[in-house]
């Protein structure tokens, strides 16, 4: 009887803790004003670092932490790149895959390669021949933003399409 009461109490405390910590996380995200409007989830949606291969053809796509899944926006960017590459058959590209600094070096090299390959697969689906595409991972070695904060990290998790010739 007594035991179960103690158990109940501790469970209550545990629940309270969980609620509190959830609140704390939410608050942290909400107060970081600079992130507002530039990230969806933790995927970068801004244009600060984006360059253009041609008018209306952004050169890069962004990823969520530890992910290599292409977002709707990324797929749109890659379709634009594929269309441009089909129109310019003499141009080859290097897809440079990158990770943020919050991971071990070797795993991040593999993750960068995986991200660049996700972009490559999509370009191929839209008619770009694989022999025009080289994949190169930089892991976390070449960040565009040297900040140690969620927004900087989101800009750094990217695959960039670079003209090879």
């Amino acid at each position: 009887m007594r035991l179960s009461k103690i158990f109940k109490n501790s469970l209550l405390i545990l629940t309270a803790c969980l609620i509190l910590s959830a609140c704390a996380t939410k608050k942290e995200v909400a107060t970081t004003d600079s992130i507002k409007g530039q990230m969806q989830g933790d995927v970068y949606t801004g244009t600060d670092t984006v360059e253009y291969l041609a008018e209306g053809v952004p050169d890069r796509v962004f990823f969520a932490t530890n992910e290599s899944i292409l977002t709707t926006a990324s797929r749109e960017t890659l379709r634009a790149q594929a269309a441009w590459l089909r129109k310019n058959p003499s141009i080859n590209v290097v897809l440079e895959g990158h990770a943020d600094e919050r991971g071990t070096r070797e795993y991040n090299l593999a993750l960068g390669e995986r991200r660049a390959n996700a972009a490559k697969d999509y370009l191929m689906t839209y008619g770009v021949s694989s022999d025009r595409i080289t994949v190169l991972s930089y892991g976390k070695e070449r960040p565009v933003d040297s900040g140690s904060n969620p927004l900087a990290w989101s800009k750094n998790r990217r695959s960039v399409t670079v003209k090879a010739n």
Partner: protein, 446 residues
């Protein structure tokens, strides 16, 4: 980059005493053993000759300083202040007045002398048990004068081994990546230095990105990742001749290289089509074997010291975790089950532990666990640190740590640190530039 081998290594008097002093090595620096390192005595003629050759005023004192510094940084010994020493170095080496050394609470005493003989450096040293009033060890070395630092390290190793019962780790080198420039365009070079940070030399010029150098445990060869011609590939480098070659002929990025314990194979990852698998290449017959075959990222492989098992990290469970398998890739078992992500497993040279990097709730930890994943112990927590490498005796871990930048992206630095297996005695290792990816060599002499 020429390794000069101690030309003559002569044992004067064989070890015959029993271990009288006991150093408790399970507790790190809680109770370091007080000992006195009396400067090695030197006669005037020898002193002048060495001053000419080595530009050091008193080479005897310099060698003693190396010994003192090594023993101190191990955290197991407390070298006493020389100002308190009552007996002159030359007399102490002949016959210590144990009462004098007892008075300053020294439990062990190191004495010795240095001579210039036939253009060579001859060093003799003795280790004394002060309480038992007995000689524990006496050794002499003859070598080329430029090897004087190594003599200091070898003496340190002998003393360490005699007093702790374990091999030392002082006559060793660290290979690492030197870093300079802004975070977005870091220039990285391979660099090598003695374990105590001295004799730093750069091995590459910084024209291409280089990462993760690792020593061959059986020789002074190194394997590392280079972005030469923008093609990230595993290379093999002979640090004595400077010759290097690509390891294998892979149609894509190879990375995360390490040697097998016998030094005959390189184990590494090869990334293709978004998946990374583990491969080995035999350096003699060039035969390449695929060890893992999984759509996930399998990387950071490290052999057990007997070569029968491999530990690695994989995200096959959805997140980066540590696994152990047999050396042919069979019998894969996940061993990390704590909260967070686990990476960079490295098997201890003693065989009983695996060191790792752990990422949990925005913090990075260096820790150790048994090879079945039990007994996890986190040694140090920080904003960012990773890539532990074991000292050859499995006693100390070296790793690198990066600082958080401010909102403008300023204030970045990367430094090498070491920590005792017990979690005590955390120290920064001085490097002329920022530094990362350290790898510890085997003992240069035995």
């Amino acid at each position: 980059m020429i390794k000069k081998i101690i030309s003559i290594f002569l044992i004067l008097i064989p070890i015959n005493a029993f271990a009288l002093i006991e150093v408790d090595i399970t507790r790190g620096n809680l109770n370091p053993l007080p000992l006195a390192v009396s400067p090695l005595s030197i006669d005037e003629t020898s002193k002048k000759e060495f001053e000419k050759i080595l530009k050091k005023q008193n080479i005897g004192s310099e060698i003693s300083l190396i010994v003192e510094n090594n023993l101190k940084t191990s955290g197991l010994f407390n070298p006493l202040d020389k100002k308190a020493f009552l007996q002159a170095p030359d007399i102490a080496n002949l016959k210590p007045r144990f009462e004098d050394w007892n008075l300053i609470k020294a439990q062990a005493l190191i004495t010795g002398k240095v001579n210039y003989i036939d253009s060579k450096l001859r060093v003799e040293f003795r280790l004394w048990d002060v309480l038992a009033a007995k000689e524990m060890m006496a050794l002499a070395f003859t070598t080329v004068p430029t090897n004087w630092r190594r003599v200091g390290h070898i003496i340190s190793d002998k003393v360490y081994e005699r007093l702790t019962g374990e091999k030392g780790y002082f006559d060793t080198r660290i290979i690492y990546v030197s870093e300079e420039g802004p975070k977005t365009q870091r220039i990285k070079k391979l660099a090598i230095m003695d374990q105590d940070g001295e004799n730093n030399t750069f091995l590459t010029l910084g024209n291409e990105l280089v990462l993760t150098p690792r020593f061959n445990p059986a020789s002074q060869m190194v394997t590392y990742l280079s972005y030469f011609k923008n093609m990230p590939r595993v290379y093999l480098l002979d640090i004595e001749t400077g010759t290097q070659e690509v390891v294998g002929d892979f149609p894509g990025m190879t990375f995360a290289p390490r040697f097998s314990p016998d030094g005959k194979k390189i184990i590494m990852s090869f990334a293709k089509d978004g998946k990374s698998d583990i491969y080995t290449m035999d350096l003699e017959n060039r035969i390449v074997e695929k060890i893992t075959n999984h759509p996930s990222i399998d990387t950071s492989p490290s052999y057990s010291p007997d070569g029968k098992y491999i530990t690695f990290n994989s995200d096959r469970s959805g997140y980066q975790q540590i696994y152990v398998m047999k050396n042919d890739g069979s019998d894969v078992k996940r061993i990390s089950f704590g909260n967070g992500l686990y990476g960079t497993p490295v098997w201890s040279p003693r065989g009983d532990l695996i060191a790792f990097t752990k990422l949990h709730k925005g913090k990075f930890y260096i820790g150790v666990m048994r090879t079945d994943g039990s007994g996890e112990r986190l040694l140090t927590e920080n904003y960012y640190q990773e890539a532990p490498s074991w000292s050859p005796n499995g006693r100390v871990l070296i790793f690198y740590r990066e600082t958080k930048t401010n909102s403008k992206g300023e204030g970045f630095s990367a430094k090498l640190w070491s920590i005792d297996l017990t979690g005590y005695n955390e120290r920064q290792i001085k490097t002329p530039t920022d530094a990362s990816d350290p790898s510890w060599s085997s003992l240069l002499s035995n």
